[in-house]
């Protein structure tokens, strides 16, 4: 039987933990709000952009731009997006596991070489020795804007043109709602061609006049494509991370409460037991005195 003081100390410790988890829960909730509205504000831009890109990229000659090149996929690169900080439940584990499966499948079954660009500290730390990381960006989620994504996009473009890799994928947690994020792996390059199943609705096809030229437009659109998709994945990760942390910390807080409750019960029982034992002593003592006296 633990002593009264031990139990009391334990209760205090758990209570402190509870205060921390509750604070983290509230911080995550506040951050989630801003991250979520940022993500939602960006969505129309990204969607409009994809419409424009599809209407141009899908019908120009693949030879018009080096970024449209389709090569035999021998070298694959994957952008891995995780959060910088932990304590957000299975958020990072889920996407890490998905990428691990992806790498295993690619290397063993298709004989491709996989390299990785790690965005976010958690993924980088995990894959440091397990994968071929060619580029890593950690501590980016505290404050980022589209220039962070533009920077990454540029280096990805030049290495694609230099044939350092043939296919590009991005792995991130898609934000579905506050409580649920789903790991997804999407191919970015080569851009889906019309034959591969992406069909535009026929009435939506308009024959545009291109200004300046089709090629010049493509030249501007393609780098933006990478920039925008990377930025979008970053926004989804930022929102998802805070959503996941909010839920995880809420669970932790209620677990603390349960624990405090059961410890308090234990404490009260122990106290009662101590009182009873003392009473027995006193009663026993007085009886002994009465007999002898």
């Amino acid at each position: 039987m633990a002593s009264l003081r031990d139990i009391k100390r334990k209760i205090q410790a758990v209570d402190k933990t509870k205060q921390i988890t509750r604070a983290m829960n509230m911080v995550a909730a506040a951050k989630l709000k801003s991250a979520q509205s940022r993500m939602e504000n960006f969505r129309p831009y990204a969607e409009k952009f994809m419409e424009v890109l599809n209407s141009v990229a899908l019908r120009v000659n693949p030879k018009a731009h080096p970024l449209l090149a389709v090569r035999e996929a021998k070298k694959v690169r994957v952008i891995m997006m995780t959060s910088d900080r932990g304590l957000c439940g299975a958020f990072n584990t889920n996407v890490i596991r998905a990428v691990e499966g992806f790498i295993r499948h690619r290397t063993t079954q298709q004989g491709q070489a996989v390299s990785m660009v790690a965005v976010g500290r958690k993924g980088r730390d995990y894959f440091r020795r397990k994968a071929n990381i060619v580029d890593a960006r950690a501590e980016v989620f505290k404050q980022f804007d589209i220039s962070t994504a533009a920077d990454l996009g540029e280096s990805l473009i030049s290495s694609f043109i230099n044939e350092e890799y043939d296919e590009l994928y991005i792995a991130f947690n898609e934000f579905r709602n506050i409580a649920s994020q789903r790991p997804r792996i999407i191919r970015l390059l080569p851009i889906a061609s019309p034959e591969s199943g992406v069909q535009l609705e026929p009435e939506g096809r308009v024959d545009y006049t291109y200004e300046p030229s089709e090629e010049a437009l493509i030249d501007e659109l393609l780098p933006s494509y990478l920039r925008i998709t990377v930025f979008r994945a970053m926004l989804e990760t930022a929102a998802g991370e805070n959503g996941a942390r909010m839920v995880a910390m809420e669970n932790a807080t209620s677990n603390c409460e349960e624990m405090i409750e059961s410890l308090t019960l234990k404490f009260n029982k122990a106290r009662q037991q101590a009182i009873t034992a003392e009473l027995m002593d006193i009663v026993g003592g007085t009886e002994a005195l009465a007999k002898s006296g």
């Binding site: 940022r38 504000n41 960006f42 129309p44 831009y45 409009k48 952009f49 419409e51 424009v52 209407s55 141009v56 589209i146 308009v206 024959d207 545009y208 006049t209 291109y210 200004e211 300046p212 010049a216 437009l217 501007e220 659109l221 925008i228 930025f231």
Partner: protein, 135 residues
């Protein structure tokens, strides 16, 4: 129904404008062009510059960053990196941005990394000042 042209301006941060207008003048990659209802479909790049919207005899000016414009007969969609309404431009600040960009640029050559970024900053500041004068 009157023949109205729907204009939507979106930036990565927000939907800036969405309304029917009479005319919009866009600083296209190949030069400025005006769009009225029934315009032929065009896909164009947009240069840093000044954009204006005419609605009910009133012209509203904006300083805009790079982007794209998709024009169809009834609708114009503008995807722009940056948009500032002329009436909200702080001229003092724009002037400061201009002189900073000029100073940065004078220390660079065309081959330097970041040269393009700085020259874009310069033209954006110029566009802001020009638009602010018309507000």
């Amino acid at each position: 129904m009157a023949e109205e042209l729907l204009v939507e301006i979106v930036t990565p941060e927000e939907m800036v404008f969405s309304d029917t207008v009479e005319m919009v003048t866009i600083p296209g990659g190949d030069g400025e062009f005006g769009v009225l209802y029934g315009h032929a479909p065009v896909l164009s790049t947009v240069k840093i510059g000044e954009l204006n919207i005419t609605k009910g005899n009133r012209k509203t000016y904006y300083a805009v960053g790079k982007g794209y414009a998709e024009v169809t007969a009834k609708k114009v969609t503008l995807l722009l990196e940056k948009v500032v309404k002329a009436s909200q431009i702080d001229k003092e600040r724009a002037r400061r941005e201009l002189s900073e960009a000029e100073a940065d640029l004078s220390r660079m050559t065309k081959e330097d990394v970041g040269f393009q970024e700085v020259s874009e900053r310069l033209s954006m500041a110029e566009a802001k000042l020009k638009a602010a004068d018309k507000a």
